[in-house]
Symmetry: C2
Subunit: 373 residues, 2 copies
């Protein structure tokens, strides 16, 4: 392996694949990034056995290819080195068996490499079940639900995001059993087979962070045991969580006795301020009390004191209500909306609270109330 | 106590005094901020028994004073509340004995207060030994030396910054016994008594962070057992470390056998890149080898590999040298200079390395070499 490449180009691609380097990997080879220089170009690959990221640099973008070949270089070191080098051309060449020399005019690094044969054998195949979706839309969909995933390992499936495809409908769901976020999306593609998989939330959240170019599509290939995202010059593969995700369709009520229209900003600020005196240990409980068009948000602590926030609501239907819920959950749910007016839909003080907006009817946020008596 | 005040003004002053609230204070009253509303204005005070900060808001800047009085309010809560309130006027009034009500049009907080009598009795007196110094200069002086303080409690005095005043010379020194930073400054004021004190580095660093207005002076009052800074509408008092700071004058050589002139940027970048393969556990040792006007910076690790950085130096005097030192210490020392050319002054491979610049001859950085053989 022997080539010359622009520093910024290499850095950008190393940055992408480095997300698959685990910070606490006890299997040494998984700290390596595989450089595979072929006649097509340079393939960079990293994996922590959970996810695999491959980034490809086309030969036309490589300054000079003198000799093809492959090496597994220590990921942290090569990343730090390229990051600290000035933006000029970098020469990289295999040396002396299993070593690599990285050099510029003034700098010369000589690194020991991992054994190429130890690197996991990775092949990416295509699936008949694949869809195309705009990067921006995909980012939004995931961000609208992912925060509701459970962080508790006691029910592992709930730590993932459930993705279902039925016909041309994509349905993303996340729940920790105290709240639920669901987003439905109308695909352009139709998939013959129904899909119902669960992606570990960390893996999908890392992928979404890589999506910086919003004007291109993500191509998603779905398998029984893995998911592959193709985006730009990158392939991102994630393992799936095993098991059947709970059916959440019946958890979301369709009819409501009480309906309020409320300004998103007013509600967010009132809940945010009322939560200041609550304790995260006790789920930041606040009380929501409606009296016709006046809503009071309250919280109280014997030790610290109490707070009352007033805001205007527009009661569309039903009786006044007094209901308690987690301020943290409400704030996280409210953050997924960007319309000015929200609908708060209720069925009484021990029934789920549903939040929707008219602008985005395909997004549903649900929060279970907390009994305080 | 009953008054109305602009939210931004109150927030700014609360932010200042909150730096004296300890995050892990087990004495409850020290979590409080004392509000003392007098006919002159509002005094806000907080202390963790190590430092005291008082911030004053003149009555002319307070929207309405209805009733003077004093209360000790929980610092974290009042700060969070005022931070989250919209920028409008806030009403604050004592209620029901030892409580306070904080309210705006839509929000109403009712907080329990601490017992006023439990708050430490604090009076600030003036010292005859006081100097005036420009805020910008003072910030620079402290930042040029403070990083060299020891973080080890085994020699407590070395965890502080030594401030000496002799005639009209201010001398700031910090050392952890492996490196030393010293800055001399010519005062406009003359103090009759010689001063030699040690300020805990955390305390002075917190104070320096508060200095956002660079066009005014800091007025420093020096005592045997404390130091008081008067700045803007603020008084900042810090305790001192007890004991006699080691005399460091003889540690700094005056004559040098070897002198190099080197570009600050070139040296910084070379040391920074060479340090990538070193380990912080082993003090990030790198080797500096000069051969007439060519300098090579090297580091090597059996496990990882090796690096060589070349740069041009201008040998003014002496023989070639090979010397090892901590890259971390060198980088921290180099960061205090802003001139393009530095002087590296040496007396052999086991003698201290001194760094100076022509633009700022009153700043001296010294690093002890590390024996590697």
């Amino acid at each position: 392996m022997k080539f010359k490449i622009n520093r910024n180009l290499l850095l950008e691609n190393l940055n992408n694949v480095s997300k698959a380097l685990s910070t606490r990997n006890i299997i040494p080879i998984l700290n390596g990034i595989k450089f595979n220089l072929t006649k097509e170009g340079l393939f960079l690959t990293a994996t922590d056995n959970e996810i695999v990221i491959e980034s490809f640099i086309d030969k036309k973008d490589i300054k000079l290819i003198k000799e093809e070949g492959a090496l597994v270089i220590h990921g942290r070191y090569i990343l730090d080195i390229v990051r600290k080098l000035p933006d000029e051309e970098i020469d990289i060449e295999e040396s002396d068996g299993n070593k690599v020399i990285i050099f510029t005019d003034n700098s010369k690094y000589n690194l020991n490499c991992f054994n190429l044969n130890d690197f996991p054998n990775i092949t990416f195949n295509d699936s008949e079940n694949n869809i195309n979706i705009s990067t921006l839309e995909f980012k939004n969909i995931i961000n609208e639900v992912i925060f509701a995933c459970s962080t508790q390992e006691s029910r592992p499936l709930l730590t993932g995001v459930n993705i279902k495809i039925i016909g041309n409908f994509l349905e993303c769901t996340a729940t920790d059993s105290y709240r639920l976020a669901k987003r439905i999306y109308n695909l352009n593609d139709i998939i013959k087979e129904n899909i119902n998989i669960v992606i570990p939330s960390r893996n999908i959240s890392e992928f979404v962070k890589l999506l910086t170019k919003e004007d291109i599509n993500v191509n998603i290939h779905l398998f029984n045991n893995k998911i592959i995202f193709k985006y730009d010059n990158m392939i991102y593969q994630s393992s799936l969580l095993n098991g059947t995700y709970p059916n959440t369709d019946n958890s979301i009520p369709n009819e409501f006795e009480i309906e309020y229209e409320i300004s998103l900003n007013d509600l967010y600020n009132a809940v945010d301020r009322a939560s200041l005196l609550t304790s995260s240990k006790e789920k930041n409980i606040i009380e929501f009390v409606s009296n016709e068009d006046v809503i009071t948000i309250m919280s109280m602590s014997q030790e610290i004191g109490k707070v009352e926030e007033k805001l205007k609501g527009n009661k569309l239907k039903g009786n006044n209500i007094k209901i308690s819920f987690s301020a943290k959950y409400m704030l996280e749910a409210l953050k997924t909306f960007d319309s000015e007016k929200l609908k708060l839909l209720l069925n009484g003080e021990i029934k789920p609270i549903v939040i929707k907006s008219e602008e985005n009817p395909d997004l549903i946020q649900l929060i279970l109330p907390i009994k305080t008596f």
